[in-house]
């Protein structure tokens, strides 16, 4: 069902021009990349599970020939791991990546090596991606040497010269024998682009290619990338945190949050009519170079949570201004809300309330039923009093929609939450969105008490 939806959305097409009807160059389905955590020494002795980070957690999309797909997200969203998984630099844990119909996950290093001539990469930091001990000519020619391509030394040199001149490092002789340290950031990124195109790839995966560069240079590198795309019929995956360059550069945009694509669709729609509350927040948060406009204050609170123990339900729900009953409310949200209140209280009041409540760490284990503990020598009513004040202070906080019941007990208040649902993909105009606001079944479930 999920993939059927994706194909429909693909057919409807976000890309510009006729390319959208062609077969996808890359088909990614339910891709997962997990990193195991190393537990403590004692844990390992006991053979206990240390858990894992779901860096990429069920990602599906198509990359169509000739398009520029933007993968946009904040740090910790998994966008870089996604790029590295596509390139085989990190092994996928499960799911499928097909390059022109051929499965490329699980390939051995030797088989993948051949594919690397078709997949190029540009990393964020041009200073770190060139070997300081190699001349620019040697670095740019290295892929040819490595893959045993390009013929004789003489012919190889000719191809390096052509690649350097193509990216604007002309005359090439002036740069061939220099070391990276002698080049500026923009020049280095040009050299990295020359190295990326020298094998004639079909797909170029660019991970933040301009974010380390000065404003005045970014446009030049982006323009060069667009020129190269036209000339060599390239297809780009542009990974970035910067919605402004992505808007200019991309045909389609995928917005990532905690390992998942929360919204994917044609760039024009994502920017003019963002559907997901997270996309909406991202767009509003960008400081525009216009003093007459100011960034709003009602942005999502907090930051991207720890991916080791992501929030239940929709991972955005603790920060989402539009969250409601079924978004996945849980014990940790109660702690967050209480601590938020305590940062705003005068000190004496905080001390008074703090003394009524027991150890908050019991709320850290994610659960849809929990007890807000009273102080060890206190009564359940004390905790109830604090909870009621919390509600009186912010009665409209989405959190309260998720609270099914509160019951005073001996040692505290038992809070039961509504059952959350992990959002699946829903269609919203030309976009696919993972948000219950666009899912009739979830909306219906929320209305039923």
């Amino acid at each position: 069902m999920e993939s059927a939806q994706l194909e429909r959305s693909a057919a409807r097409g976000g890309g510009r021009g006729e390319t959208s009807r062609a077969d996808p160059l890359l088909e990614v389905r339910d891709l997962r990349t997990l990193f195991g955590l190393r537990g403590s020494f004692a844990d390992r002795l006991r053979g206990a599970e240390a858990g894992s980070v779901h860096a990429v957690d069920g990602v599906s999309f198509d990359l169509r020939p000739g398009e520029v797909l933007g993968i946009v997200g904040e740090s910790g969203s998994g966008k870089t791991t996604l790029g590295r998984t596509l390139l085989g630099l990190v092994d996928a844990t499960s799911g499928s990546i097909k390059l022109e119909g051929r499965e490329i996950t699980g390939l051995g290093e030797a088989e993948f090596r051949e594919l690397r001539t078709r997949l190029g990469i540009v990393f964020q930091d041009p200073h770190a991606s060139l070997n300081p001990a190699l001349t620019i000519g040697a670095s740019v020619g290295d892929p040819l040497r490595f893959h045993g391509l390009g013929g004789s030394d003489e012919e190889r040199r000719g191809r390096v010269v052509a690649a350097l001149e193509r990216v604007g490092l002309a005359p090439a002789q002036q740069f061939m024998d220099k070391y990276p340290a002698a080049l500026s950031g923009g020049q280095k990124q040009r050299a990295v682009l020359a190295r990326a195109i020298i094998l004639g790839p079909d797909i170029l995966i660019a991970d933040e290619p301009v974010s380390m560069l000065d404003m005045s240079v970014r446009a030049k590198i982006l323009e060069l990338m667009l020129d190269l795309k036209r000339e060599f019929a390239l297809t780009y995956v542009y990974i970035t945190h910067d919605l402004a360059t992505a808007k200019f550069f991309c045909d389609r945009i995928a917005i990532m949050y905690l390992g998942r694509i929360v919204e994917i669709g044609p760039a024009a729609q994502i920017y003019d009519d963002p559907k997901h509350p997270y996309t909406q927040a991202l767009l509003r948060a960008i400081p525009e170079p216009d003093p007459s406009r100011t960034v709003p204050r009602d942005l999502p609170r907090g930051e991207v949570p720890d991916a080791v123990m992501p929030p239940l339900g929709c991972s955005l729900h603790p920060r989402c201004p539009r969250a409601f009953e079924v978004c996945g409310w849980e014990s940790r949200d109660l702690r967050t809300l209480l601590e938020l209140r305590w940062t705003q209280l005068p000190e004496e009041e905080f001390e008074r309330e703090r003394a009524l409540i027991g150890d908050l760490d019991v709320l850290d284990e994610p659960a849809t039923e929990c007890v807000l503990p009273a102080a060890p020598d206190g009564a359940g009513d004390d905790a109830a009093e604090v909870l009621e004040r919390l509600r009186a202070e912010a009665p409209d906080d989405p959190f309260w929609k998720g609270v099914a019941s509160t019951d005073v007990e001996q040692g505290g208040v038992r809070v039961r939450f509504r059952d959350g649902i992990v959002p699946g993909e829903s269609e919203a105009d030309a976009a696919l969105v993972r948000c219950h606001l666009y899912d009739d079944a979830a909306l219906a479930k929320a209305r039923k008490p």
Binding site: K220, E223, H241, E288
Partner: protein, 352 residues
């Protein structure tokens, strides 16, 4: 915290006055790098001055020069007056005593500035003990929690270690740590560069509250003009060690006087960008900068006078100033000097 003192804002006396500051670094070849080359500026209480320019224009050196944080090998000339106290040549011990209670600094990388081995509580206690030893422990704790609460850090987390906080929280802890001593002047060098866009917006909100509630003078160094538009009252544009334009942020954005400012504003890629624009070439090396106006090799409006004579600072309406021959003074431009400069194209590769 919102009902803080607002009395000092009527005081028009600048908190910081920099006069003809020069900072240079020695090089192996002998000729010095003139990173800051004759800079003058003022910041009043409760005012935020944004300092922008490409990398390598001397912004960070200027910020460090103001705080006396330059390496010993750097040469410094000129004056830095903090509330009429000269900071150039001040003995290191006295400067150290001022750093914190008088002038504070917020760095770019909050991760590397907190000691991973001690709790947040210890960071605050140590700071307060060093600068205000007369306070008792309770008072120190109260002040610390108040500063942290102002940055949205819950008091329940006072005894945690830096690694238990996210990047944005660590930056807010750094700001709280800078504010707990109540400095009158704060230098923030790219305070949001390492942060995500939503967290960046949160921090910008905090910085805006800061000048409103505490009357802090803020020097905000950034390469992001969106942040300047968001957070700054005035804007100073730095190029090759000089301030080439300075004035009210709104006015400079609406009508940049210097071609460098104009080109810099045009090269921003924002959500409204429909076409790419950039400045050809790169900022010059500061050992042997171009003759005359240092921007002339990249300037689309360059005139014959520009490579010949160093531009003279010209006051403009509204308390603005610029250093560009387009704005005169006319009687200093030799005959024919206003003709367009003929020159060769800048090669694509000679860029930043």
């Amino acid at each position: 915290m919102s009902d803080g003192p607002v009395t000092a804002s009527t005081d028009t006396e600048p908190v910081l006055r920099v006069n003809d500051l020069r900072v240079w670094y020695g090089t192996q070849d002998g000729d010095p790098v003139r990173a800051v080359d004759g800079v003058s500026l003022e910041i009043k209480a409760g005012e935020t001055l944004g300092l922008v320019g490409e990398s390598g224009c001397g912004k960070s050196t200027l910020g460090r020069g103001v705080l006396g944080l330059l390496p010993d090998s750097a040469g410094v000339e000129g004056r830095v007056l903090y509330r009429d106290r000269e900071l150039v040549g001040i003995p290191p011990k006295e400067m150290r005593a001022m750093r914190g209670p008088e002038v504070g600094l917020i760095f770019q990388e909050p991760m590397t500035r907190l000691n991973p081995l001690v709790t947040i509580e210890s960071h605050f206690m140590e700071t307060l003990r060093a600068h205000e030893p007369e306070l008792d422990k309770e008072e120190m704790k109260r002040r610390s929690l108040e500063a942290l609460a102002g940055m949205g850090i819950p008091p329940t987390r006072f005894k945690q270690y830096p690694h238990e906080f996210s990047g944005g929280m660590r930056q807010r802890i750094m700001i709280a740590l800078a504010l707990v001593l109540g400095p009158k002047l704060l230098v923030a060098d790219e305070p949001t560069t390492a942060l995500d866009v939503i967290v960046e917006a949160q921090i910008l909100g905090i910085l805006a509250d800061l000048r409103r509630n505490f009357d802090t003078a803020l020097l905000l160094i950034t390469h992001n003009l969106g942040i300047v538009a968001e957070a700054c009252d005035r804007l100073a544009v730095m190029y090759a060690g000089r301030i080439v334009e300075e004035g009210d942020a709104r006015e400079v954005f609406a009508e940049p006087a210097h071609p460098y400012t104009r080109e810099l504003l045009r090269s921003i890629i924002s959500l409204d960008t429909t076409g790419l624009h950039y400045i050809p070439g790169a900022p010059p090396n500061l050992i042997d900068p171009p003759s005359g106006c240092r921007f002339h090799p990249r300037c689309p409006n360059a005139m014959r006078v520009c490579p010949e004579r160093f531009p003279i600072e010209v006051p403009l309406a509204g308390g603005r100033r610029t250093e560009c021959w387009l704005h005169g003074p006319a009687d200093e431009i030799p005959p024919g000097g206003s003709e367009p400069l003929e020159r060769q194209e800048i090669a694509l590769a000679e860029e930043a």
